[in-house]
């Protein structure tokens, strides 16, 4: 190997190492803070390695165990149903509009594309969902609005387009129905892209709290992210507005930093476990979209 190449390699590795440290550090601080007691926080401040292992924050959260478990349940339900249904519908849609011999191809492509440029806006969307669809306080409201995204459809369409039409024709000659072609040939061949889109969708569903905030009046159907957001929002709110309303907010019984961070750890935990399973598809999937687009 030439010296220049080695230098280049070293540079790349150092750079990547630095980037990964930047990514990991905040997370280390979150974990360490969640393990520090309030008094410890006051004395030592934030640190990467905890000075002590103190499980008070988690113990406090266990008091609200029912709420957290139900929030977890809700998140898992939403993410799995939504991802499954969404990926199925989007793949079918994308495959259909990728076929040159499909009559409504242009119209349907435009139909999807249109939503990328124009959106209904929050108020109109809210009125549509509350007045016409009557989905307020209904758990399906968390699933339906995010299920189909035009962006993902186009990624999938590019991938489907790459399929040689001959493969489909030969399947037809062998007597396959359209549905069978889709499930036996298209889906297996698009495994990587579908896995990538699934991962993106799981993240979207998992991180979405805004929909819960908007369409639910009660907190008992909240997802884990919304639970976290609520706690954080309320703490910030109290801190920022303590003066505005006559100093009547009792700042002393707010959850400490440790508790906030512990909720954060609980919220991202499952995603950390999901990611490695998808990772190999993820890289390949992004490539497909990038190169052939």
């Amino acid at each position: 190997m030439r010296k220049k190449d080695i230098n280049k390699k070293i540079f790349v590795y150092v750079l990547l190492l630095a980037v990964s440290i930047i990514c990991i550090l905040p997370f280390m601080i979150i974990i360490s803070t969640s393990l520090t007691s309030e008094k410890g926080m006051a004395l030592n401040g934030y640190s990467i390695i905890p000075h002590e292992i103190n499980l008070d924050s988690y113990r406090y959260l266990l008091k609200n165990l029912n709420q957290i478990l139900s929030a977890y349940g809700m998140s898992i339900w939403v993410a799995s149903i939504g991802t499954f249904a969404g990926v199925t519908i989007m793949t079918m849609f994308a495959y259909a509009i990728s076929r040159e011999d499909f009559k409504f191809r242009k119209f349907l492509s435009f139909f999807a594309y249109f939503t990328m440029i124009f959106s209904g806006g929050t108020v109109a969307t809210y009125m549509w969902i509350s007045r016409s669809l009557h989905l307020l306080n209904n758990r399906w409201v968390l699933v339906l609005p995010l299920m189909v995204s035009a962006y993902n459809i186009f990624i999938l369409r590019v991938a489907c387009k790459a399929l040689p039409i001959e493969v489909i024709e030969s399947a037809k000659i062998d007597g396959c129905s359209e549905l069978k072609i889709f499930f036996r040939i298209v889906v297996p061949l698009q495994k990587t892209v579908i896995a990538t889109i699934s991962l993106l969708m799981i993240f979207t569903y998992w991180n979405d709290w805004y929909t819960s905030m908007l369409y639910f009046d009660t907190a008992d159907k909240s997802t884990i992210q919304y639970y976290l957001v609520r706690v954080l929002n309320s703490v910030n709110f109290a801190k920022n507005n303590a003066g505005a309303a006559g100093g009547a907010i009792n700042t002393y019984d707010l959850p400490s930093d440790g508790i906030q961070m512990a909720i954060c750890v609980l919220a991202v935990g499952p995603m950390m476990c999901v990611f490695p399973f998808f990772q190999k598809y993820f890289v390949a999937g992004i490539n497909v979209g990038a190169v052939k687009g």
């Binding site: 004395l43 016409s132 009557h134 609520r230 910030n236 109290a238 003066g243 006559g246």
Partner: protein, 493 residues
Amino acid sequence: MMKKLISIILAAVLMAGVAGCGTKTQESGKGDTVKWYLFSNPGNVNEKDIFAEAQRMAKEKTGVDLEIIPIESGDYESKMQILTASNEPFDIMFTSNWLNNYYMNVSKNAILPLDDYLKDYPELYNSMPEYFWDSMKVKGKIYAVPNQQIVARGPFFAIPEQNMELLGFTDADFEGAGENYKTALAAVEKYLRAVKEKTGNYCNLNKIWNDGTQMFNIEEVVGSLLPGAIQLDNETDKYKLINQYESEEFKYYIKMRRKWVEEGLVMPSEETERDLDHVEDPTAIVPNITRGNCYKPNVLSELNRNSDYDWKIIFKCRPITTSGSVAATMNAISATSKNPEGALKIIQLVDTDAEFYNLLVYGLEGVNYTKTGENSIELNPDMPYTWTEWNVGNTFNKYNLPGEPDNFAEEVEKINDESFKSPLLGFSPDLDNVKVEVSACQSAVSEYLNLLDYGLVDVDSSYPEFIKKLKAAGCDKLISEVQRQVDEWVAQQ
């Protein structure tokens, strides 16, 4: 064939959608349930039981069906905005000059003017002094019911109690210090010097100007920290707006503050503000002093709960009541309300009925708290129910917590009534025409004020820069526009 099928399906879907819209139109009526969006804190375990009891009590006492929908405080603003923007039918909301903005709601016609209704609710109307209602008026009409609480803002200074003896101070040392800003600042300096001499240490001291201009007899009229204020001790021309950042008071204060920093009397930067609430020896001198923005009878117990040692108030400044301080907490009725009479009955109930009010604030007796006297309670730490009292209703009806004096409500009422009433009580500026200037001034203020208020920068060089930036941001235009509105308002009175 396929085409036909698709069109049939499409038609069916459309029909279903239209039918869905049609069935929900309701006639308005007196019997409609009153929906109350209350703002709440997270983690209230038995909230449901409490609301069920509240609904039962409301039905029993007023005959109105009540539905309470708790929205957590952090989400309240966005949730209410989407509800009002989409004309969603509901009844009661919290509104104020700092959250879910009252004046915006009035200009959007999102809330109902109450003048025609109020005469039918004398119990509610007479439950508070006239100047509360006057402060509510926008273009001559009342749109909301204030939640009574402390409205007089009187800044005060407090120090760790043991420091008095350890530094050899007596009450006499601080007597009359609240007279005017010069005596107040001199008293603070005396204390800072004594701490420095005894311990060699600098003190923590928060900002004095920000949220504390009452001490300087200045009322900010245009908005919090925005240039444009009246001088309350100006007898000859009391409606004259000035730029408070060009006032003698401001210059005097920032120079003094800078001197304190240079001499090492107070912390030299924001980062060096130490955590002094938790100290190893709470009986030694703690180098701490704090400026509170609002004196009220239970303020000491609030301070004491936060720290390892007890606090002592060394002096108080004159309390002042402004429109802004009354408009800080209110209940309003949505313009989409189908049952405004019922909603007003509920507001009357929560403002005049102690039993109903305390249920919403403290929860269920025997579960969330136990009574220790006729009007005093102790909270049950195992079953926390935390609710901020001022977002619900009239805080004068609340039970007293340990450490709060028995006559808490009367004391607060006394402070309110005896406070200096701003000559502009009832005036609120309309900043629509000067939005650009407002945001430009805001950014100039946020760039400099903190630094000057902490004494972190050299006054001789930074202060002229600050004033120059404010002028460039159009503060004069802003002030003259609001001055015009003030003059119009005065002429109308």
